[in-house]
């Protein structure tokens, strides 16, 4: 089982449901949720222990002010400064806008792109894949 997952999404109900689901299924040890990008970026840059870094991040594309891409930029900078374990990043959206899909596929740090509503199979796969990547 993976140890830490992050969810960055400004949809409160979705975050609540996500947490409930992950807890019920016991998919990871720690789950951190962020209602906006800046909190997530702050936490990322202030992390002292590499151990506390997440194994998987579920990032919403649909946040205000292009929040998702702000986070990705911050992540690039962070990655360039420090070396750390592989982090799986899943972009989650309820939009079927193909431009976003293209961008998702082009970005080397983005593991995959998921369209809401996610079913339980997708959830579980995402967690298991991240675990496998990590241990491989």
């Amino acid at each position: 089982m993976i140890s830490t997952a992050w969810i960055i999404d400004d949809d409160d109900i979705y975050r609540y449901g996500f947490r409930k689901f992950v807890t019920n299924k016991v998919l990871c040890k720690n789950l951190f949720d962020f209602g906006n990008t800046s909190d997530a970026i702050d936490t990322l840059t202030n992390l002292q222990e590499a151990l506390n870094l997440p194994d998987v991040i579920f990032l919403s594309v649909d946040m205000e002010n292009m929040g998702c891409w702000k986070f990705m930029n911050a992540f690039e900078i962070f990655k360039a400064q420090r070396s750390f374990k592989k982090i799986a990043i899943y972009l989650v959206t309820s939009s079927i806008n193909y431009l976003d899909i293209e961008r998702g596929h082009d970005h080397p740090d983005i593991t995959d792109y998921m369209i809401k509503p996610l079913n339980s199979q997708q959830f579980i796969h995402a967690f298991e894949d991240s675990f496998l990547t990590k241990t491989a």
């Binding site: 949809d11 449901g17 409930k20 689901f21 809401k116 509503p117 996610l118 339980s120």
Partner: protein, 487 residues
């Protein structure tokens, strides 16, 4: 011996007279007092007769040979006492094969005698007729297609326009110079023509321009001006020739078409965006709803189930709001045909302020308005209410918390259009980043009872459905200004 007797003579006739007789011309002589005429051999020949074949008499000449409509011309020409100079007239004479055109040159020899020569000009006359018909046809056609020709003599700085070209400019007289022609072109197009003509004179480069000109009567029309240069062996421009055509109708239609195309494109884009947003929002609600229901099914804990149910309720409420907004957007196009009424700006604006009273008091906002420059508008009351309501509530929502909110609104008339300027000193919009999204249905509105991103979208659609437009200027932390053309 006279010329007129020579046909009676044999080969001993003097050479000069022989020669003259063989010229393809006839000579006649008239004694005015006795009305006695003499005809040369050539005279008979040119009419297609042998000498003596027809009666050589004044009566025969005037009554039979000269076409009756040309008789007056002939009689005038021989009756004029004063004329000493040769006078040329054109007559139709009856030849053996019918009437043909002749040129008749008359000269008074002394007080008694008049002599004349006739030459057959039938062929030339026919050509002349044909030419005249053709040129009439050409000028009629040109007039019909509003087409004229023009020429420039660059050495003399002289300009010549055909009648039809002058007609396009609604002018009676020629232009004095090239500069004067350029003056008739609208200021924004003047440099184009000036450069093209200069270039054509200097290098012989042909040109082809569509320009706006102001005619002598003040009508602004589109004309096509084309020109090519005649160059000499050294490549020097001798002459510029070209055409001028009134293409106003075509151009205006083209512009109308372009506008329609833009409207269609805009509508299409809007519809696409609308469909995208609808699917996006409904999907996010559907997703959350499904997630919650699954959790509800799996959950054993009563408190958990209670919380989940409260979330389901909130999703349901948001969905309801969204559906209402979408309905409002969809009905914009159908309600634009509702009845317009004369609305007093101030009255309506005060009503909206009243409706938002609690928000305004809460934010301590100052609202200034001035509708004196244009107090009324003929518009859909529901739309105008919605427009003012959206603008005001936006300003209240996006105020700068560090300073008191000041909103100003005024109306005015310009070029027969009614405008509204609405300005605030709020947080502003980063136009570089979000300029194109201000009026778009871009922002998602799940979990947001304020449903941001819908208001301005509806406002724009309402304004545009009634043929107006809305623009925004904004500076971050300084404020936002909306300029609305209502009608």
């Amino acid at each position: 011996m006279t010329l007129f007797d020579t046909y009676l003579f044999d080969n001993d006739t003097p050479d000069l007279a022989q020669t003259i007789n063989n010229i393809n011309a006839g000579i006649w002589e008239l004694d005015i007092s006795t009305k006695k005429v003499k005809w040369s051999v050539g005279f008979y020949n040119i009419l297609g007769y042998a000498p003596g074949e027809i009666e050589c008499s004044y009566l025969n000449l005037v009554d039979n040979i000269i076409y009756y409509q040309d008789r007056a011309t002939f009689l005038t020409s021989i009756d004029t006492d004063t004329i000493k100079q040769p006078e040329i007239t054109y007559l139709r004479l009856l030849t053996k094969s019918g009437f043909e055109w002749f040129q008749n040159t008359i000269q008074r020899r002394d007080n008694l005698k008049t002599v004349g020569t006739i030459i057959n000009i039938n062929q030339f006359k026919f050509l002349e007729f044909e030419l005249e018909t053709n040129s009439n046809l050409v000028s009629e056609t040109n007039r019909l297609v509003k087409f004229g020709t023009w020429e420039i003599d660059p050495l003399a700085n002289k300009l010549f326009l055909s009648e039809e070209a002058l007609h396009i400019f609604e002018l009676q007289n020629q232009f004095d110079s090239i500069e004067e022609l350029i003056e008739y072109v609208e200021p924004e197009h003047r440099p184009l023509l000036k450069v093209a003509i200069d270039d054509c004179i200097k290098t012989g480069r042909p040109f082809h321009l569509d320009l706006l000109v102001r005619t002598d009567k003040g009508n602004v029309i589109w004309v096509k001006i084309k020109a090519v240069a005649d160059i000499d062996g050294y490549g020097k421009c001798l002459f510029i020739k070209g055409i001028i055509q009134d293409i106003d109708l075509v151009k205006r239609q083209e512009e109308n078409l372009k506008t329609s195309l833009n409207t269609v494109n805009d509508n299409n884009k809007r519809l696409q965006n609308f469909a995208y947003i609808v699917s996006h929002n409904l999907r996010s609600y559907a997703g959350n709803l499904k997630l919650m229901l699954n959790l509800h099914d799996e959950s054993k804990d009563a408190d958990d189930r209670k919380e989940i149910l409260s979330h389901i309720k909130s999703i349901s409420n948001s969905l309801d709001v969204t559906i209402k907004h979408l309905t409002e957007i969809v009905t914009i196009d159908t309600s634009k045909n509702n009845e317009k009424t004369l609305i007093e700006f101030e009255l309506l604006f005060k009503n909206i302020i009243n409706a938002l009273k609690s928000n305004i008091q809460e934010t301590n906002a100052t609202i200034n308005y001035d509708f004196t420059k244009c107090s009324h508008v003929y518009y859909l009351p529901a739309y105008l209410e919605s427009i003012f309501h959206n603008l005001l509530s936006n300003s209240l929502k996006y105020r700068n918390p560090d300073r008191p909110l000041i909103i100003t609104c005024e109306s005015y008339i310009k070029d027969d259009h009614i405008f509204i300027v609405f300005e605030d000193n709020g947080i502003g919009i980063d136009m570089k980043r979000y300029g194109d999204k201000v009026f778009g249905l871009y922002q998602k509105f799940h979990n947001n009872q304020d449903a941001q991103g819908v208001g301005l979208y509806i406002t724009r659609n309402q304004i545009e459905s009634l043929g107006g437009c809305i623009e925004v200027e904004s500076t971050v932390n300084a404020g936002t200004k909306f300029l609305i053309k209502l009608t």
